[in-house]
Amino acid sequence: MTYAGKNIMHGRELIAFRIADQEFCVNVMSVREIRGWTPATPMPHAPSYVLGMINLRGAVLPIVDMSQRLGMKPAEPTVRHVIIVAQVGPKVVGLLVDSVSDILTVTDENIQPTPDIANEAEKGYARGILAIEGRMICLIELDSLFPHTESEAA
């Protein structure tokens, strides 16, 4: 496929990543960078999926274990794990995933609605499902995974 052949208007680019044996993807526009795992500083009183804070060139970045956040078992981070630095609303969050697998260009027709079997938790973040070459990839809406709240220290 040539670049010109892509339908720019309706197509969108997604970054696919792997957690355990499942594949997920997010809009590439919200991804700022991808970096390797570095140990994070744990936060007191944090939910278990918040692994802690890392230093991203002078800024303090929270790291979220996507596996736990999506309701699966906690990750055991190794140097082979990957952090996707994503912009969610005004904040920047690091998403810990097993690996980044693909960059996809899809149109809206490629996205199937989330099947009925999904329970409320999965429905909450899944925006749809993509079927590509026999793979099933779940499209995640980061905004609903990490809704913006007003900072308390106003």
Binding site: T41, H45, M53, K91, A153, A154
Partner: protein
């Protein structure tokens, strides 16, 4: 530079002038009768008017003009600056500030108020004082010539080059003033200072403008002119004696010099017909009359470029001629020479003085963003330097290498750079305090109370970001203090107090922090009422046993108000939770102490900067934490004999015969589930603002270090017990302990587990 930028600069200057104006008026109010203070006040209004005129801000111009006219009466001793007069003037200063803000932000102004004040100011200027009656003509006439003569600023071709469209302004109100019937003759002594020329003014042009007023004769006084070898080409040596017969009178002549007035010695007086000749022949001033070539003034229109060299040439020729004359005079009459020398010396001295003053107050205006960027960079530098030091220490077995010495120097330099950069943002709290003066006036007016605001330590310096965020909570608290703290004057009198209430605002440095105190001498907190209200609002149980201090602190609870009905202004307590939160957001603490019948004192302790912090790096449950050094009183190694169990789970440590509760930091932050053995760790004795002492147990102390504060809220959320984060030498994130929150938690208020799923968003 486009028009908006020029305008922005004007508004920035306005802000400074307004501050100057207010402080000057307050000084006068305190009985200061220094003419320089009056001049400063006048100058401030005058500059605002001048700039506003150039930008066509008519409302601002007309108000400033009336204000200026009244101030001029004070300046010329026609109006005594009594308390009542100053009250009007202070209000006028407020309106002037409002008008300026409205012109900048496009907001609206209370027009009725400004109209009332215009009338009051005019009344003051016109005749409510006996002094004004003696000089009937000049005052009303003052406005007309000023309006007729276009402001010199507008005329400057340089401004036109910027694509600037001058907007003429008129004072319709004054046009119907009757013209003076007799034609007065003015005697003007005009002695430019060096600054006049430095600012691009040209004496010749000023003289030309005077010549347009009427018949003029000019004498140039060149006695001050030194010999050529001693002449500094940048100095001003000439002065002129002008006598002009004009219908516009003294004020008309003054208006010519309006924009040069501060850069020259100017003496204008109206003289009777028969005095003219006498004055012209006045021998008191040793004068070397030089025929003045008026023809060069007769170009009629704007300054044509080709005229410039001619003027300079003739000036130069005159200078040389004058120099020769001066030296001849020196040979012939020693008296004249002495005079000339004295004059030269005097002018040199005053020039030196002016230079000194200029050097002392030399400033540049810098965009805050640029400074912030610099501060961020220095922060990175500090972290990098720490990282470098750490890796060198790790890899260098013999600690005496030259690398180590170089690192030490680097460390010192970094520290110095950091201090210097921080100092750039440091500013006195004065502007915020001055704003409070206005708040007090307004609230006093509305509530009908008589209040005196005393400020102390207003030159105490603190980071600009802190100052900016201080204004809002302070305004709120001042309102509370006046509205609810102070009693009505009658009641005060009945209580045997001074009917005029006092609000004292103090700033001072204390151990690396700035402490701001707001004290009133009002009724103090009504504890019964507070307590009842807290019970009504289910904040405390009806039979709760609270200390006075605890009751006072209830007013910081959200939604708490002791005001029977919430007034327009505030209720003591309404929003005090907001005040507390905004102080805490600044890394500060606030406490209150109140004595019934004697008043309340709010004490705020704030960090000097929001960027760096001196901290003690400690280890807790395998984690590295930073404890702000300011909170730590001492560190100690607990001994078994000093630890005492108290009740089920409490443990106390005895320090010099007093018992202090032990707080396991690892436990309170949920880093571990069981309390660590105090003997294995180190105790940090901390003092929280108004919260007494606690011994915080940590596992080990790593050392003392300056850390760069990084916001947790930027990407995460507020974490109870944690003030902020920082980045350590190894590049890892460390948390900065919020000592006050930890101490509060140890007193039973749990660190709330309010971090939900949403918290990371």
């Amino acid at each position: 530079m486009d028009m908006n930028e020029i305008k922005e600069i004007f508004f920035q200057e306005c802000e400074e002038q307004l501050a100057e104006l207010e402080s000057g008026l307050l000084k006068l109010n305190d009985g200061d009768r220094d003419p320089e203070t009056v001049n400063a006040v006048f100058r401030a209004v005058h500059s605002i008017k001048g700039g506003a005129g150039a930008f066509g801000l008519d409302d601002l111009v007309s108000f400033a003009h009336v204000f200026e006219t009244t101030l001029d009466c004070v300046r010329s001793n026609k109006l005594e600056p009594t308390q009542d007069v100053l009250k009007v003037m202070l209000k006028s200063a407020d309106v002037l500030a409002d008008l300026t803000n409205a012109a900048r932000d496009g907001g609206s102004v209370d027009e009725a108020r400004s109209r009332t004040l215009i009338r009051e100011l005019e009344a003051l200027a016109n005749g409510e004082t006996p002094a004004a009656a003696e000089a009937p003509a000049p005052k009303p006439a003052a406005a007309a010539p000023k309006a007729a003569a276009p402001a010199p600023v507008v005329e400057k071709p340089a401004v036109n080059d910027e694509g600037f469209q001058p907007i003429p302004f008129s004072f319709g109100d004054f046009d119907d003033e009757p013209a003076a019937h007799y034609v007065p003759t003015c005697q003007v002594l005009f002695k430019p200072k060096k600054d006049l020329y430095a600012k691009g003014n040209e004496a010749v042009l000023l003289l030309r403008d005077v010549s347009r007023l009427g018949d003029m004769s000019v004498y140039c006084d060149m006695d001050a002119l030194p010999t050529l070898d001693k002449m500094n080409p940048e100095e001003a040596y000439f002065s002129w004696k002008i006598s002009v017969t004009t219908e516009k009178g003294e004020d008309g002549v003054r208006s010519v010099f309006e924009f040069a007035e501060w850069d020259c010695d100017l003496d204008i007086r109206t003289i009777e017909e028969d005095v003219v000749s006498e004055a012209a022949d006045d021998e008191e001033l040793p004068m070397q009359p030089v025929p003045f070539d008026l023809s060069i003034l007769d170009d009629g229109g704007s300054v044509a470029a080709e005229d410039e060299p001619a003027i300079i040439e003739s000036d130069a020729a005159a200078a040389i001629a004058a120099a020769e004359t001066a030296s001849k005079v020196a040979q012939v009459t020693s008296r004249a020479a002495d005079n000339a020398k004295a004059a030269a010396a005097a002018s040199a001295a005053s020039a030196a003085q002016a230079n000194q003053a200029a050097a002392a107050g030399q400033t540049i205006r810098v965009d805050l963003d640029r400074v912030d960027r610099l501060i961020n960079l220095v922060g990175e530098l500090v972290i990098n330097q720490a990282m470098l030091s750490q890796s060198v220490v790790e890899n260098d077995s013999n600690g005496t290498s030259s690398i180590n010495m170089g690192l030490e120097e680097l460390q010192q330099l970094t520290r110095e750079i950091q201090d210097s950069v921080m100092a750039i943002r440091a500013q006195p709290v004065k502007p915020v305090f001055q704003r409070m003066a206005r708040t007090v006036r307004e609230i006093a007016d509305i509530t009908g109370k008589s209040v005196r605001l005393i400020t102390e330590g207003e030159n105490t310096e603190v980071d600009k970001t802190v100052i900016d965020k201080l204004a809002e909570p302070l305004t709120h608290m001042i309102r509370n203090a006046v509205d609810h703290g102070l009693e009505m004057p009658e009641k005060r009198e009945a209580l045997g107090k001074n009917p005029e209430g006092t609000v004292r605002l103090t700033a001072k440095h204390r151990s690396g922090r700035i402490v701001i105190e707001l004290a009133d001498d009002g009724a103090g907190i009504n504890r019964e009422k507070v307590r009842q209200k807290a019970i009504d609002n289910d904040l405390i149980a009806a039979d709760a046993n609270l200390s006075d201090e605890e009751i006072d602190n209830l007013i910081f609870h959200a939604g708490f108000s002791t005001a029977d009905k919430v007034s327009d202004l505030s209720g003591r307590g309404v929003g005090m939770d907001v005040v507390k939160r905004s102080i805490q957001a600044l890394g500060g603490r606030i406490s209150i102490s109140s004595k019934p019948g004697q008043g309340s004192v709010f004490t705020m302790s704030l960090p000097l900067t929001l960027a760096v912090l001196d901290g003690m790096v400690v280890t807790v449950a395998g984690q590295t934490l930073v404890v702000p050094l300011t909170a730590i009183v001492e560190t100690l190694q607990p001994e078994a004999s000093a630890i005492h169990s108290f009740g089920a789970s409490q443990r106390l440590i005895s320090i010099r015969n007093s018992f202090c509760p032990l707080v396991d930091v690892g436990r309170i932050l949920n880093f571990r589930n069981i309390q660590a053995n105090p003997m294995d760790g180190v105790a940090l004795l901390v003092e929280s603002e108004g919260g007494g002492q606690r011994a915080l147990m940590v596992d080990a102390i790593q050392g003392q270090r300056q850390v760069v504060i990084k916001s947790l809220e930027a990407n995460y959320t507020h974490v109870p017990g944690i003030a902020a984060a920082t980045i350590l030498g190894d590049g890892r994130v460390a948390l900065i302990l919020d000592v006050d929150a930890v101490v509060a938690a140890s007193r039973g208020h749990s660190l709330r587990q309010d971090i939900s799923l949403a918290a990371t968003g």
